[in-house]
Symmetry: C2
Subunit: 356 residues, 2 copies
């Protein structure tokens, strides 16, 4: 712990620069002394001080990763991808949960700046203009995941799934099954991915000649409890939907659980589509139809992009461009052709309400 290159130098009878060079395998040092010093370092249990090294080289080999919460399985898989490729390239990951609190987010960024990270990856859902400004100040390249960066700075790039296309896929699938009254449960407010998925949803509807109905847009929050509340809201509608496209799988999970409690059969009475394809989607009751995102791959890609930005710097930063990946529809058992049953149930509900 406390043995430095000076200690090794003393033990070997040389100067500390010689030790420094020997350990970094510099050609300036003879084979003999190099071997001697390296063995000595091994014996003395030497561990290079990354702080001192970073201080002079201005490279810390660590990157900051800012997420809303690591407890979200979607986020966890992305971080998994980031961490493994970071590790493979000798980089260390500093994890920051923002909890979607702006204050905490800013504190995290300030910390990362102090620690002089070589780069930052952000998976927080909404990156306001103000927040982006804070990020820029960090002086290190930034990669955003699933976020637009309209006013992208010099070193701010993004990796994202084609959310609009994904929303179009999900909704198109439901339309193809015969559904015409299709709800969308939104995600966290002001997130670009939510707006894009919603745009894809609208696009699919109008494309099929269905007039989008604003009352079918139900507010959620990207978490199960949001999905549970969304179901209640849906059922209280004058003309409830026969199918629903959820912002993400977590929302769908909550919605399905609420449906089970209220005795609504899925997919018989209500078809449900999610987004993300988290590990548990296939283990749900019923297994969830969803739009799969290449999560681990996105993490890896983001980290690779960051590495390029770090090594490139002033050189050829222009060559790097934002990446948009395509998600793909995974059809499971939570969606089903619109049958008489679902339609009847919907009509009955309306009738029931009109009787009152």
């Amino acid at each position: 712990m406390r043995v430095s290159i000076k200690d090794i130098a003393k033990a070997a009878g040389v100067s500390h620069p010689t030790v420094s060079r020997a350990l970094s395998d510099s050609p300036l040092i003879s084979k003999a002394t190099k071997a001697r010093i390296q063995r000595l370092a091994q014996e003395m249990g030497y561990s290079p001080n990354a702080l001192a090294r970073g201080l002079v080289t201005r490279q810390t080999y660590s990157v900051g990763v800012v997420v809303t919460t690591i407890a979200d399985p979607f986020v966890a898989e992305i971080v998994q991808g980031i961490e493994t490729t970071a590790h493979d390239h000798g980089y260390t990951v500093i994890l920051c949960n923002s909890g979607a609190e702006p204050q905490r987010e800013i504190a995290a960024v300030e910390m990362l700046r102090s620690k002089r990270v070589d780069g930052v990856i952000v998976t927080s859902s909404r990156v306001g203009a103000l927040y982006l400004e804070y990020l820029e100040r960090i002086g290190a390249p930034v990669v955003l995941i699933n976020n637009h960066n309209e006013q992208s700075g010099h070193y701010t790039f993004s990796v994202e799934v084609d959310n609009q296309h994904g929303g179009w896929l999900a909704t198109g699938h439901l339309i193809q099954l015969g559904h015409r009254r299709i709800s969308y449960v939104t995600g966290p407010a002001n997130s670009s991915s939510d707006l894009d998925r919603q745009a894809g949803y609208r696009h699919a509807l109008t494309e099929a000649g269905i007039e989008p109905d604003a009352t079918l847009i139900i507010p959620g929050n990207g978490r199960p409890d949001g999905g549970e509340r969304a179901l209640d809201t849906m059922l209280s509608l004058a003309d409830p939907p026969t199918a629903v496209f959820c912002y993400n799988d977590m929302t769908a999970i909550g919605l399905i659980a609420a449906a089970r409690r209220r005795g609504i059969a899925i997919p018989r009475e209500l078809s449900v589509v999610g987004f993300d394809d988290i590990v548990f989607a296939s283990y749900l009751d019923p297994p969830l139809t969803t739009v799969a995102q290449p999560k681990v791959e996105m993490g890896q890609l983001a980290m690779h992009m960051l590495l390029s930005l770090i090594t490139a710097r002033e050189d050829n930063g222009e060559e790097i461009s934002n990446k948009v990946l395509q998600g793909n529809l995974v059809v499971r058992a939570s969606t089903r052709k619109l049958g008489r049953r679902a339609d009847n149930v919907a009509r009955e509900r309306i009738a029931l309400r009109q009787d009152k």
Copy 2:
């Protein structure tokens, strides 16, 4: 980014130690200059260099967290607890996925040592004696989660759930439901938590006058695929069980999925109990009966313990002791009283086999 206290000193017409003291609110500096310097630092966008500070103070305010994989929701929740309390105390978390590969684990620890972390929390499943030795070398306090540390060093403590009691609870529940042939699907090899849960399982059996049957111990790995294979193994037994206790929820998830594919009704034909109570346990089909671990709380507790160890050091390290928390049984719909049905199915299977 590049503005240092020297730059501020130059701008303020003072020496850099004065700036250093002013920014740390030292009583040695007059109110007037203190205010002036602090405002100047603000204006110039100063960010203290944590590397330089850590180099001289020998404190980095960062802790290492070593996990098998962050993609495991059980692990993710623990890390969530660790990160929030770390952040609340001004500490930063460096995340390391070991992927259960010893080589990678050692590399991670070596990295943490280089970065001079103030402490380490390990959630890897098996901490061999050799690995512990590496950890000790780091020269910083270590807290293990869900791991015994028989030869606990001076600064190595642990936080764990009472695995034996948990295993006893789960198995006792099944026995109370009338089951007598109860399987146990193991977790990762050589993990202390697996052995303890298994011990609790045996204890409950013998306590109820049931002779433990070694053939009912099915090897798993703590992941869904292990559970899936375990089901196949179970069904090929001469006298298959009517209930199964799984090492963890992920194993149970895989097992239940396999059962669904093979047309085995749960809980009618087979009762299933898990361990952990991950978020998804209640959303499964059927909702999973399981032994709940206070995951977030465990993470928080581990971090608090680490903080105590860091601040205490030579002082009163002896006052800190290993913590054992109690899990509690959460009964849902995956377990059910042993009825004729399950028993008959089991008998039929035997008969079927004997016919061949």
